[in-house]
Symmetry: C2
């Protein structure tokens, strides 16, 4: 499965290289005019996700423009609750609405029965992308991690403080465990199909893992990530797994130390030297640059990028952001950033 011509995949497997491979979270997105054009043709965000030709097109766009080392499937983490039977809508300028919010009876009504039928267009996107990418550009499949997806399902949308939902664990632990278990099952199946369709690495985004006490984090985030990675590797032993639990700080080594974890993403608030000492001995490190530095650009961005690269010199490291690009990012700043990382 791994492609020896791909610098990105070799780095995930533990090879240090200089310059490091580069890709960016949310590299396909609203900051690119070509994305906005395709998005407008699709009519809605969900239409774009479920249209394999158009989703493949926006996946290719940043590869064409920037010559990055990896492409990441264009999709959304909330396709899973939708495929399980919860209604998901994206209202303009308002964020997602999931209805009804998850409770015990609603959870009982969800089902894996139509999962792959609902997600078939996504698998088709993966096939189209892999067929259209240069050989040395790796394709990353992804999914939201169970806790992060569960916060949207429980709250019916975005929350100001998703960590407050740990109260659900304190008050209804069996209910929360059932929801997490269902998401572990669905996410594992989803990622295995992505790999079968051509994804060469997978990343699990736990965007709302921050702010959880360590024992809750273990149960709702670390263990589910381990179970999903084990399931995916059970089906495809060579597939590298990247875990990105945002905001967990000193708990990062719990993820990096998992047998099934090949790489961990670090968010922009993670101190780089600390990560080099505490995380690099356990797994490949990916990311860390503040995406807002790429909005302002200039010497401050370039100096930070060079320092980030130098901190991880000699360790297996994938250059990336500490969170996705924001829509305000000037695309030309990205060009400058890549040149600074790739200059010798």
């Amino acid at each position: 499965m791994t492609n020896p011509r791909s610098l990105f995949l070799r780095t995930l497997k533990g090879e240090a290289s200089s310059p490091p491979p580069i890709w960016f979270m949310r590299q396909a997105g609203r900051y690119l005019p070509e994305y906005r054009a395709t998005r407008a043709e699709a009519g809605s965000f969900l239409n774009l996700c479920y249209d394999p030709e158009k989703a493949a097109e926006v996946t290719f766009q940043p590869i064409r423009r920037y010559g990055l080392d990896a492409a990441i499937l264009f999709a959304d983490i909330l396709l899973i609750p939708q495929a399980l039977g919860q209604d998901v809508a994206f209202e303009k300028g308002e964020g997602p609405k999931l209805s009804p919010p998850m409770d015990e009876p609603t959870l009982e009504s969800l089902s894996m029965a139509r999962l792959h039928e609902a997600l078939a267009p996504i698998y088709e996107t993966v096939r189209l992308v892999r067929a259209g990418l240069p050989d040395d550009v790796a394709l990353i499949g992804f999914a939201g991690a169970p806790w992060t997806v569960a916060t949207y399902m429980l709250a019916g949308g975005s929350m100001k403080d998703p960590a407050a939902l740990r109260q659900v664990y304190y008050e209804r632990p069996a209910f929360l465990r059932r929801l997490i278990d269902l998401l572990v099952d669905a996410t594992s199946e989803y990622l295995i199909r992505q790999v079968e369709a051509g994804a060469e690495a997978i990343q699990l985004f736990d965007t709302w893992a921050g702010g959880l006490p360590e024992d809750v984090l273990q149960i709702v985030s670390v263990e589910p990530a381990a179970r999903i990675a084990e399931r995916v590797k059970g089906a495809a032993p060579d597939i590298p797994v990247i875990l990105f639990p945002k905001g967990v700080g000193p708990a990062l080594p719990k993820y990096a130390g998992l047998e099934v974890c090949d790489a961990v993403g670090i968010d922009f608030a993670t101190p780089w030297e600390w990560a080099r000492e505490a995380v690099s001995p356990l797994a490949t490190v990916q990311g860390g640059l503040d995406p807002l530095l790429v909005v302002s650009g200039g010497e401050e961005m370039l100096a930070a990028a060079r320092r980030l690269k130098s901190v991880f010199e000699g360790a297996p490291y994938v250059f990336n952001l500490g969170h996705g690009f924001t829509p305000e990012t000037p695309p030309e700043n990205v060009t400058e950033l890549i040149a600074a990382v790739r200059e010798s």
Copy 2:
């Protein structure tokens, strides 16, 4: 200034004791019926803050009910922007509104000239509380840290993601530094007066320090905290200083390692064993218990409290929460919690 009869102050100065001293963030607050009664008499939250008799009364209430080792001045972190000349209002159920939001011309209009006149009622509260407290109960003065206060000043109120204001630093560093410098000055003066009025330790709350890249954190949070602590210790060399930068995770040792830092608070997401290893050698540790565990109570709360106490056994440690009590906290759970910590 330090009182040798106070277990709390001895612990801040590095003495380990078992059981540890106990107080709680937001121990005076809406979860207590006696607080709600005094608050209703005052008419508004700001009236309560500026009424020395009533503010002293609510400061005493949790001491009377629970026999805690320390009282903390009842006040609000937004009294400082108000004393500097920015309008502050608390709308029912909406959070604070500050107007106009801070920009360069508004910043120029702020002034230290009426600071102590505006804050005189707070100093009077400190005097009343110190005069009325038992000798072995310490009185903690406090203020919001410059970055946290600045987020409210810049946004005109609460934000979903205060760390996004780092963009102000990237785009207008001189403006942000001027605002932080003004807050360092005002906060230092405010805390020195609290100490002169009878506060025996001070705590700086940096509630929104989380999510900042390390170099930004250094400039807007670590250095301002150090400067304020130095100024206060310049006026009162023995005064212990507690820093509580919430959400900073692996950056905690940067605060704990400051010469002027006696203790650091840990939030509820900080892994306890990690803090014992990385922070305890540098400073007294305070806090860590998830306040939501005290809402649900019972054996899960008690087991967590016993484990927390045991992790820090042998190190200087102050028992406390990892964030303030929420209004839903049943007061009887607090009684049980204290008994569990104090049992031998």
